[in-house]
């Protein structure tokens, strides 16, 4: 399989796949013409990566997960630890965003939003 075909199959842009090779996440073979040749295991890996990235795992976490995935004697606890760590990160991000939203929503609420220059949003940004 050439890169275009596997790109379509996995939904990842060809550029991304080349990048994943660059940083050692996949190691496709090469044909006589220099083209990358992807086999089924590469397709699996790339699909895995696509899903893990969609869940917000960092590249390094993906690398870790891939290693665990390939290690048939891994402990599921190790996988779970990575996932739980990431869950915490997500929760923290959500909390931070929710706090921003609340503050900002309150400012917006108090702003008339008309032609007049008086604006509680700007005032709120000036100082407490």
């Amino acid at each position: 399989m050439n890169i275009g075909e596997i790109a379509e199959q996995t939904g990842l842009p060809a550029k991304t796949i080349r990048y994943y090779e660059d940083i050692g996440l996949v190691t496709p073979q090469r044909g006589a013409n220099g083209y990358r040749v992807f086999r089924e295991t590469d397709a699996y890996k790339l699909t895995f990566l696509g899903r893990a990235r969609a869940l917000g795992f960092s590249i390094e976490q993906c690398r870790e997960l891939l290693a665990l995935w390939e290690d048939r004697s891994r402990a599921s606890a190790d996988v779970r630890a990575v996932a739980l760590g990431h869950l915490d990160d997500i929760e923290a991000k959500i909390s931070a965003l929710a706090a921003m939203r609340d503050t900002l929503a309150e400012l917006v609420q108090n702003c008339a939003g008309d032609d007049r220059p008086d604006c509680p949003i700007l005032k709120g940004l000036e100082g407490p």
Copy 2:
């Protein structure tokens, strides 16, 4: 005021303040020794920037807000529009993160997290 002093006052790292000057958000004067000299208006601007950034506004949005802030004849509707746009962005991010969290939490829930290699998290990442 030198950069260290204003950095402490605004809570922004000196590096960040220099960067803000680089991209034209603030334009401190210069003393005879080449040091930046910050005046009160600079302090206000930097405080404003710090708060706006803390609320997640991008640098370009901050630039826009600063311009509105300096324009005494602005319409509060313009400010409100920027803020509402950003609120939408925040909501979208929260939704995306919540979806990740839910999916991931479900995978984690089903994983025993013990010494055995069987792991629903990895299986969930393999395919649907």
